[in-house]
Protein backbone atom coordinates (compact mmCIF):
# COMPACT_ATOMS: atom_id res chain seq x y z
CA UNK A 1 0.00 0.00 0.00
CA UNK A 2 1.35 3.41 -0.88
CA UNK A 3 0.11 6.81 0.18
CA UNK A 4 1.69 10.20 -0.15
CA UNK A 5 1.83 13.06 2.27
CA UNK A 6 2.25 16.20 0.24
CA UNK A 7 3.02 19.64 1.56
CA UNK A 8 0.39 21.27 -0.62
CA UNK A 9 -2.49 23.45 0.61
CA UNK A 10 -4.36 21.56 3.32
CA UNK A 11 -7.88 22.76 2.50
CA UNK A 12 -7.58 21.50 -1.06
CA UNK A 13 -6.73 17.93 0.02
CA UNK A 14 -9.72 17.72 2.34
CA UNK A 15 -12.24 19.03 -0.17
CA UNK A 16 -15.07 16.89 -1.46
CA UNK A 17 -13.80 17.36 -4.96
CA UNK A 18 -10.45 15.85 -4.03
CA UNK A 19 -12.13 12.88 -2.36
CA UNK A 20 -14.43 12.18 -5.27
CA UNK A 21 -11.54 12.45 -7.65
CA UNK A 22 -9.59 9.93 -5.63
CA UNK A 23 -12.48 7.48 -5.51
CA UNK A 24 -13.05 7.85 -9.23
CA UNK A 25 -9.41 7.18 -9.90
CA UNK A 26 -9.62 4.04 -7.81
CA UNK A 27 -12.70 2.93 -9.70
CA UNK A 28 -11.02 3.60 -13.03
CA UNK A 29 -8.26 1.29 -11.85
CA UNK A 30 -10.83 -1.40 -11.13
CA UNK A 31 -12.09 -1.22 -14.69
CA UNK A 32 -14.90 0.25 -16.65
CA UNK A 33 -18.38 0.28 -15.19
CA UNK A 34 -20.14 -0.59 -18.43
CA UNK A 35 -18.83 -4.14 -18.50
CA UNK A 36 -20.02 -4.69 -14.98
CA UNK A 37 -23.56 -3.56 -15.84
CA UNK A 38 -23.60 -5.72 -18.95
CA UNK A 39 -22.46 -8.77 -16.95
CA UNK A 40 -25.18 -8.16 -14.37
CA UNK A 41 -27.81 -7.76 -17.09
CA UNK A 42 -26.83 -11.05 -18.76
CA UNK A 43 -26.89 -12.81 -15.38
CA UNK A 44 -30.39 -11.52 -14.60
CA UNK A 45 -31.67 -12.30 -18.12
CA UNK A 46 -30.38 -15.87 -18.06
CA UNK A 47 -31.76 -16.37 -14.53
CA UNK A 48 -35.17 -15.23 -15.78
CA UNK A 49 -34.91 -17.55 -18.81
CA UNK A 50 -34.02 -20.46 -16.50
CA UNK A 51 -37.02 -19.67 -14.29
CA UNK A 52 -39.48 -19.57 -17.19
CA UNK A 53 -38.07 -22.65 -18.93
CA UNK A 54 -37.67 -24.53 -15.67
CA UNK A 55 -41.18 -23.85 -14.39
CA UNK A 56 -43.29 -23.79 -17.55
CA UNK A 57 -41.53 -25.40 -20.51
CA UNK A 58 -39.68 -28.45 -19.19
CA UNK A 59 -41.62 -31.63 -18.33
CA UNK A 60 -42.04 -33.27 -14.95
CA UNK A 61 -39.80 -36.23 -14.21
CA UNK A 62 -41.27 -39.72 -14.33
CA UNK A 63 -40.23 -40.44 -10.74
CA UNK A 64 -39.35 -37.10 -9.14
CA UNK A 65 -42.35 -35.14 -10.46
CA UNK A 66 -42.01 -31.38 -10.06
CA UNK A 67 -39.02 -31.55 -7.74
CA UNK A 68 -36.86 -32.34 -10.78
CA UNK A 69 -36.98 -28.58 -11.48
CA UNK A 70 -34.32 -28.11 -8.80
CA UNK A 71 -32.01 -29.64 -11.41
CA UNK A 72 -31.84 -26.18 -13.02
CA UNK A 73 -30.75 -24.52 -9.77
CA UNK A 74 -28.84 -26.92 -7.53
CA UNK A 75 -26.09 -28.19 -9.89
CA UNK A 76 -25.43 -24.68 -11.35
CA UNK A 77 -24.92 -23.05 -7.92
CA UNK A 78 -22.73 -25.97 -6.84
CA UNK A 79 -20.71 -25.51 -10.03
CA UNK A 80 -20.26 -21.79 -9.32
CA UNK A 81 -19.14 -22.49 -5.73
CA UNK A 82 -16.82 -25.45 -6.09
CA UNK A 83 -15.29 -25.11 -9.50
CA UNK A 84 -15.51 -21.42 -10.42
CA UNK A 85 -15.23 -19.61 -7.08
CA UNK A 86 -12.90 -21.89 -5.15
CA UNK A 87 -11.04 -22.70 -8.37
CA UNK A 88 -10.24 -19.03 -8.98
CA UNK A 89 -9.32 -18.50 -5.31
CA UNK A 90 -6.87 -21.40 -5.57
CA UNK A 91 -5.41 -20.19 -8.88
CA UNK A 92 -4.94 -16.61 -7.63
CA UNK A 93 -3.37 -17.85 -4.39
CA UNK A 94 -0.85 -19.93 -6.34
CA UNK A 95 -0.13 -16.92 -8.58
CA UNK A 96 0.53 -14.79 -5.50
CA UNK A 97 2.83 -17.38 -3.96
CA UNK A 98 4.95 -17.55 -7.13
CA UNK A 99 7.35 -14.57 -6.82
CA UNK A 100 7.34 -13.98 -10.59
CA UNK A 101 3.57 -13.41 -10.81
CA UNK A 102 3.09 -11.90 -7.34
CA UNK A 103 0.67 -8.97 -7.30
CA UNK A 104 -1.78 -7.57 -4.69
CA UNK A 105 -4.40 -7.88 -7.44
CA UNK A 106 -4.38 -11.68 -7.10
CA UNK A 107 -4.86 -11.52 -3.33
CA UNK A 108 -7.88 -9.25 -3.73
CA UNK A 109 -9.42 -11.44 -6.43
CA UNK A 110 -8.82 -14.58 -4.32
CA UNK A 111 -10.76 -13.02 -1.43
CA UNK A 112 -13.55 -11.71 -3.65
CA UNK A 113 -13.96 -15.11 -5.30
CA UNK A 114 -13.99 -16.99 -1.98
CA UNK A 115 -16.69 -14.68 -0.60
CA UNK A 116 -18.95 -15.33 -3.59
CA UNK A 117 -18.09 -19.03 -3.21
CA UNK A 118 -19.44 -19.02 0.35
CA UNK A 119 -22.71 -17.56 -0.92
CA UNK A 120 -23.04 -20.15 -3.72
CA UNK A 121 -22.03 -23.01 -1.42
CA UNK A 122 -24.68 -21.98 1.12
CA UNK A 123 -27.23 -21.93 -1.71
CA UNK A 124 -26.00 -25.40 -2.72
CA UNK A 125 -26.58 -26.73 0.78
CA UNK A 126 -30.01 -25.07 1.07
CA UNK A 127 -31.32 -26.19 -2.34
CA UNK A 128 -29.78 -29.63 -1.80
CA UNK A 129 -31.50 -29.98 1.55
CA UNK A 130 -34.88 -29.08 0.04
CA UNK A 131 -34.31 -31.53 -2.80
CA UNK A 132 -33.19 -34.22 -0.35
CA UNK A 133 -36.37 -33.77 1.63
CA UNK A 134 -38.47 -34.15 -1.51
CA UNK A 135 -36.70 -37.14 -3.09
CA UNK A 136 -34.77 -39.03 -0.41
CA UNK A 137 -37.26 -38.26 2.34
CA UNK A 138 -34.71 -36.62 4.67
CA UNK A 139 -33.48 -33.02 4.99
CA UNK A 140 -29.95 -34.08 5.84
CA UNK A 141 -27.91 -37.27 6.13
CA UNK A 142 -24.25 -37.76 7.00
CA UNK A 143 -23.06 -39.34 3.77
CA UNK A 144 -19.61 -38.51 2.41
CA UNK A 145 -20.76 -35.92 -0.16
CA UNK A 146 -22.93 -33.98 2.28
CA UNK A 147 -20.50 -34.17 5.20
CA UNK A 148 -17.54 -33.03 3.10
CA UNK A 149 -19.56 -30.17 1.59
CA UNK A 150 -20.38 -28.96 5.11
CA UNK A 151 -16.65 -29.24 5.94
CA UNK A 152 -15.90 -27.20 2.81
CA UNK A 153 -18.14 -24.38 4.00
CA UNK A 154 -16.36 -24.32 7.37
CA UNK A 155 -12.92 -24.37 5.66
CA UNK A 156 -13.72 -21.34 3.50
CA UNK A 157 -15.32 -19.47 6.40
CA UNK A 158 -11.99 -20.14 8.14
CA UNK A 159 -10.17 -18.75 5.11
CA UNK A 160 -12.25 -15.56 5.26
CA UNK A 161 -11.41 -15.13 8.96
CA UNK A 162 -7.70 -15.67 8.24
CA UNK A 163 -8.01 -12.77 5.77
CA UNK A 164 -9.06 -10.50 8.65
CA UNK A 165 -5.89 -11.13 10.70
CA UNK A 166 -3.77 -7.98 10.70
CA UNK A 167 -0.26 -7.65 9.33
CA UNK A 168 1.56 -5.95 6.51
CA UNK A 169 -0.09 -6.27 3.11
CA UNK A 170 2.50 -8.76 1.92
CA UNK A 171 2.52 -10.99 5.01
CA UNK A 172 -1.28 -11.01 5.00
CA UNK A 173 -1.43 -12.03 1.35
CA UNK A 174 1.09 -14.85 1.87
CA UNK A 175 -0.90 -16.11 4.85
CA UNK A 176 -4.17 -15.86 2.88
CA UNK A 177 -2.70 -17.79 -0.05
CA UNK A 178 -1.47 -20.66 2.13
CA UNK A 179 -4.84 -20.84 3.93
CA UNK A 180 -6.60 -20.93 0.54
CA UNK A 181 -4.48 -23.85 -0.61
CA UNK A 182 -5.28 -25.80 2.57
CA UNK A 183 -9.02 -25.21 2.11
CA UNK A 184 -8.77 -26.22 -1.56
CA UNK A 185 -7.75 -29.80 -0.65
CA UNK A 186 -11.41 -30.56 0.10
CA UNK A 187 -12.70 -29.50 -3.33
CA UNK A 188 -11.51 -32.55 -5.35
CA UNK A 189 -12.47 -34.80 -2.42
CA UNK A 190 -16.04 -33.46 -2.56
CA UNK A 191 -16.04 -33.94 -6.33
CA UNK A 192 -14.92 -37.58 -6.23
CA UNK A 193 -16.74 -38.52 -3.00
CA UNK A 194 -19.70 -39.96 -4.91
CA UNK A 195 -17.34 -42.24 -6.83
CA UNK A 196 -14.96 -43.18 -4.00
CA UNK A 197 -17.54 -44.00 -1.35
CA UNK A 198 -21.09 -45.27 -0.97
CA UNK A 199 -23.26 -42.16 -0.78
CA UNK A 200 -26.96 -41.40 -0.83
CA UNK A 201 -26.11 -38.54 -3.16
CA UNK A 202 -26.27 -39.50 -6.80
CA UNK A 203 -23.29 -39.43 -9.16
CA UNK A 204 -22.89 -36.65 -11.72
CA UNK A 205 -25.46 -36.25 -14.52
CA UNK A 206 -23.48 -34.03 -16.86
CA UNK A 207 -19.83 -34.24 -15.87
CA UNK A 208 -19.80 -38.05 -15.94
CA UNK A 209 -16.45 -39.76 -16.48
CA UNK A 210 -17.45 -40.84 -20.00
CA UNK A 211 -19.38 -37.59 -20.71
CA UNK A 212 -22.70 -39.33 -21.07
CA UNK A 213 -25.69 -37.01 -21.11
CA UNK A 214 -28.33 -38.59 -18.93
CA UNK A 215 -31.10 -35.97 -19.17
CA UNK A 216 -33.71 -35.30 -21.89
CA UNK A 217 -32.82 -32.44 -24.32
CA UNK A 218 -35.23 -29.76 -23.02
CA UNK A 219 -34.04 -30.38 -19.46
CA UNK A 220 -30.43 -30.33 -20.62
CA UNK A 221 -30.82 -26.98 -22.42
CA UNK A 222 -32.54 -25.39 -19.40
CA UNK A 223 -29.80 -26.77 -17.18
CA UNK A 224 -27.20 -25.26 -19.54
CA UNK A 225 -28.83 -21.82 -19.29
CA UNK A 226 -28.94 -22.28 -15.51
CA UNK A 227 -25.18 -22.95 -15.56
CA UNK A 228 -24.62 -19.81 -17.66
CA UNK A 229 -26.73 -17.77 -15.28
CA UNK A 230 -24.79 -18.94 -12.21
CA UNK A 231 -21.52 -18.33 -14.04
CA UNK A 232 -22.39 -14.76 -15.04
CA UNK A 233 -23.75 -13.98 -11.57
CA UNK A 234 -20.50 -15.25 -10.09
CA UNK A 235 -18.30 -13.18 -12.46
CA UNK A 236 -20.40 -10.10 -11.64
CA UNK A 237 -20.05 -10.67 -7.91
CA UNK A 238 -16.28 -11.15 -8.05
CA UNK A 239 -15.99 -7.99 -10.09
CA UNK A 240 -18.13 -5.87 -7.76
CA UNK A 241 -16.40 -7.28 -4.67
CA UNK A 242 -13.01 -6.50 -6.19
CA UNK A 243 -14.07 -2.90 -6.84
CA UNK A 244 -15.23 -2.63 -3.24
CA UNK A 245 -11.89 -3.84 -1.95
CA UNK A 246 -10.10 -1.27 -4.12
CA UNK A 247 -12.36 1.43 -2.67
CA UNK A 248 -11.77 0.13 0.86
CA UNK A 249 -8.05 0.42 0.35
CA UNK A 250 -8.39 3.90 -1.11
CA UNK A 251 -10.47 5.02 1.86
CA UNK A 252 -8.01 3.53 4.31
CA UNK A 253 -5.08 5.40 2.83
CA UNK A 254 -7.18 8.53 2.52
CA UNK A 255 -8.26 8.53 6.15
CA UNK A 256 -4.62 8.11 7.16
CA UNK A 257 -3.70 11.12 5.04
CA UNK A 258 -6.53 13.10 6.63
CA UNK A 259 -5.34 12.19 10.12
CA UNK A 260 -1.83 13.37 9.33
CA UNK A 261 -3.21 16.57 7.83
CA UNK A 262 -5.30 17.20 10.93
CA UNK A 263 -2.27 16.80 13.17
CA UNK A 264 -0.39 19.22 11.03
CA UNK A 265 -3.21 21.77 11.34
CA UNK A 266 -3.20 21.38 15.12
CA UNK A 267 0.47 22.24 15.23
CA UNK A 268 0.00 25.27 13.01
CA UNK A 269 -3.03 26.46 14.99
Amino acid sequence: MTFHVTDGPVSNENSDFYRLDKINKALALAGRKMWRTLLGAVAVASALATTVLGLYVTPKDEHLGNSVRLLYVHPPVAWAALYLAFGLTTLCSILYLIPKTRSPFFDKIAGASAESGILFLSLTLITGSIWGHMTWGVWWTWDARLTLTAVLLVLYLGYLSVRKISGTDHSKAIRNSIAALIAAIDVPIVHFSVIWWNTLHQTASILTPNLQFKVPPSMGITMGIGFLSATFAWVWMVRVRYEISVLEEARESESLTTLIQNRRMERVG
Binding site: E62, G137, S218
Partner: protein
Amino acid sequence: MTLTSSKRRRRLIAVGTVLLCVFAFLIYEGLTNSIEYFKTASQAVSSRAALGTSTFRIEGTVVPGSIHRKANDTYFSISSGSTEVPIVDSGTPPQLFQPGIPVVLVGHFQAGNGPGGTSTTFLTNEIMVKHTSTYIAAHPNRVKASNGTTR
Protein backbone atom coordinates in the same frame (compact mmCIF):
# COMPACT_ATOMS: atom_id res chain seq x y z
CA MET B 1 20.27 -21.05 16.94
CA THR B 2 19.35 -18.44 14.42
CA LEU B 3 18.24 -19.42 10.97
CA THR B 4 18.62 -17.40 7.82
CA SER B 5 15.36 -16.41 6.18
CA SER B 6 15.78 -18.85 3.29
CA LYS B 7 16.41 -21.72 5.71
CA ARG B 8 13.38 -20.72 7.73
CA ARG B 9 11.29 -20.60 4.60
CA ARG B 10 12.48 -24.04 3.51
CA ARG B 11 11.65 -25.45 6.93
CA LEU B 12 8.21 -23.82 6.82
CA ILE B 13 7.50 -25.33 3.40
CA ALA B 14 8.67 -28.77 4.57
CA VAL B 15 6.53 -28.69 7.72
CA GLY B 16 3.59 -27.32 5.75
CA THR B 17 3.82 -30.09 3.15
CA VAL B 18 3.95 -32.80 5.83
CA LEU B 19 0.92 -31.28 7.60
CA LEU B 20 -1.04 -31.09 4.35
CA CYS B 21 -0.31 -34.74 3.53
CA VAL B 22 -1.36 -35.84 7.02
CA PHE B 23 -4.57 -33.80 6.76
CA ALA B 24 -5.46 -35.29 3.36
CA PHE B 25 -4.62 -38.81 4.56
CA LEU B 26 -6.81 -38.39 7.68
CA ILE B 27 -9.79 -37.20 5.67
CA TYR B 28 -9.44 -40.10 3.24
CA GLU B 29 -8.90 -42.78 5.90
CA GLY B 30 -11.54 -41.42 8.23
CA LEU B 31 -14.13 -41.44 5.49
CA THR B 32 -13.19 -44.81 4.04
CA ASN B 33 -13.14 -46.66 7.34
CA SER B 34 -15.61 -45.03 9.68
CA ILE B 35 -18.08 -43.19 7.48
CA GLU B 36 -19.04 -46.13 5.34
CA TYR B 37 -22.47 -44.81 4.55
CA PHE B 38 -24.23 -48.08 3.72
CA LYS B 39 -23.67 -51.78 3.11
CA THR B 40 -25.29 -53.30 0.06
CA ALA B 41 -27.77 -56.09 0.78
CA SER B 42 -25.27 -58.75 -0.34
CA GLN B 43 -22.43 -57.22 1.74
CA ALA B 44 -24.72 -57.14 4.77
CA VAL B 45 -25.85 -60.75 4.38
CA SER B 46 -22.29 -62.03 3.95
CA SER B 47 -21.27 -60.30 7.20
CA ARG B 48 -24.53 -61.21 8.95
CA ALA B 49 -22.78 -62.87 11.94
CA ALA B 50 -20.50 -59.90 12.63
CA LEU B 51 -23.35 -57.39 12.32
CA GLY B 52 -25.58 -59.14 14.87
CA THR B 53 -28.45 -56.81 15.70
CA SER B 54 -26.38 -53.60 15.48
CA THR B 55 -27.89 -50.63 13.63
CA PHE B 56 -26.52 -49.81 10.17
CA ARG B 57 -27.70 -48.65 6.73
CA ILE B 58 -28.51 -51.23 4.07
CA GLU B 59 -28.94 -50.56 0.34
CA GLY B 60 -30.75 -52.49 -2.36
CA THR B 61 -33.41 -52.27 -5.05
CA VAL B 62 -37.05 -52.77 -4.04
CA VAL B 63 -38.08 -56.11 -5.61
CA PRO B 64 -41.11 -55.47 -7.87
CA GLY B 65 -44.23 -57.26 -6.67
CA SER B 66 -42.88 -57.83 -3.15
CA ILE B 67 -44.63 -54.91 -1.41
CA HIS B 68 -47.60 -55.63 0.84
CA ARG B 69 -48.99 -53.86 3.89
CA LYS B 70 -50.20 -55.45 7.12
CA ALA B 71 -51.50 -53.31 10.01
CA ASN B 72 -49.04 -50.41 10.33
CA ASP B 73 -46.11 -52.29 8.80
CA THR B 74 -44.91 -52.45 5.21
CA TYR B 75 -43.35 -55.72 4.03
CA PHE B 76 -41.10 -55.92 0.97
CA SER B 77 -37.76 -57.26 -0.23
CA ILE B 78 -34.65 -55.51 -1.49
CA SER B 79 -32.07 -57.11 -3.74
CA SER B 80 -28.46 -56.54 -4.71
CA GLY B 81 -26.91 -58.97 -7.12
CA SER B 82 -28.49 -62.34 -6.42
CA THR B 83 -29.11 -61.62 -2.72
CA GLU B 84 -32.60 -60.78 -1.50
CA VAL B 85 -33.28 -59.38 1.98
CA PRO B 86 -36.83 -59.37 3.42
CA ILE B 87 -37.71 -56.03 5.01
CA VAL B 88 -40.22 -55.04 7.68
CA ASP B 89 -40.79 -51.28 7.79
CA SER B 90 -42.61 -49.87 10.81
CA GLY B 91 -42.33 -46.24 9.70
CA THR B 92 -43.99 -44.32 6.91
CA PRO B 93 -42.34 -44.89 3.50
CA PRO B 94 -41.49 -41.61 1.67
CA GLN B 95 -43.66 -40.38 -1.20
CA LEU B 96 -41.34 -41.63 -3.93
CA PHE B 97 -41.15 -45.16 -2.51
CA GLN B 98 -42.11 -47.62 -5.25
CA PRO B 99 -41.09 -50.96 -6.81
CA GLY B 100 -37.86 -51.13 -8.78
CA ILE B 101 -36.03 -48.18 -7.17
CA PRO B 102 -32.87 -48.27 -5.04
CA VAL B 103 -33.41 -47.46 -1.36
CA VAL B 104 -31.24 -47.00 1.72
CA LEU B 105 -32.77 -48.28 4.97
CA VAL B 106 -31.71 -47.52 8.55
CA GLY B 107 -32.24 -50.40 10.97
CA HIS B 108 -30.95 -53.81 12.06
CA PHE B 109 -31.29 -57.53 11.41
CA GLN B 110 -34.00 -59.39 13.31
CA ALA B 111 -32.72 -61.36 16.29
CA GLY B 112 -33.03 -65.17 16.35
CA ASN B 113 -33.35 -67.73 13.61
CA GLY B 114 -35.35 -67.63 10.44
CA PRO B 115 -35.87 -70.29 7.81
CA GLY B 116 -32.46 -71.78 7.01
CA GLY B 117 -30.28 -70.42 9.85
CA THR B 118 -29.87 -66.91 11.28
CA SER B 119 -32.67 -64.57 10.26
CA THR B 120 -31.76 -62.13 7.50
CA THR B 121 -34.98 -60.17 7.93
CA PHE B 122 -34.12 -56.49 8.30
CA LEU B 123 -36.22 -54.25 10.57
CA THR B 124 -36.35 -50.55 9.68
CA ASN B 125 -38.32 -47.44 10.44
CA GLU B 126 -36.50 -45.09 8.07
CA ILE B 127 -36.50 -45.47 4.30
CA MET B 128 -34.49 -43.11 2.10
CA VAL B 129 -35.05 -43.19 -1.64
CA LYS B 130 -31.74 -43.26 -3.50
CA HIS B 131 -32.37 -41.48 -6.76
CA THR B 132 -30.13 -42.28 -9.71
CA SER B 133 -28.64 -39.58 -11.92
CA THR B 134 -30.96 -40.48 -14.78
CA TYR B 135 -33.95 -38.26 -15.55
CA ILE B 136 -36.92 -39.32 -17.65
CA ALA B 137 -39.55 -36.88 -18.89
CA ALA B 138 -42.97 -37.80 -17.49
CA HIS B 139 -45.30 -39.13 -20.13
CA PRO B 140 -49.00 -39.37 -19.29
CA ASN B 141 -49.55 -42.41 -21.52
CA ARG B 142 -46.51 -44.40 -20.43
CA VAL B 143 -47.48 -48.04 -20.12
CA LYS B 144 -46.87 -49.63 -16.75
CA ALA B 145 -45.41 -53.13 -16.70
CA SER B 146 -47.43 -55.82 -14.95
CA ASN B 147 -45.04 -55.74 -11.98
CA GLY B 148 -45.66 -52.03 -11.44
CA THR B 149 -42.43 -50.61 -12.84
CA THR B 150 -42.23 -47.98 -15.58
CA ARG B 151 -39.22 -49.09 -17.56
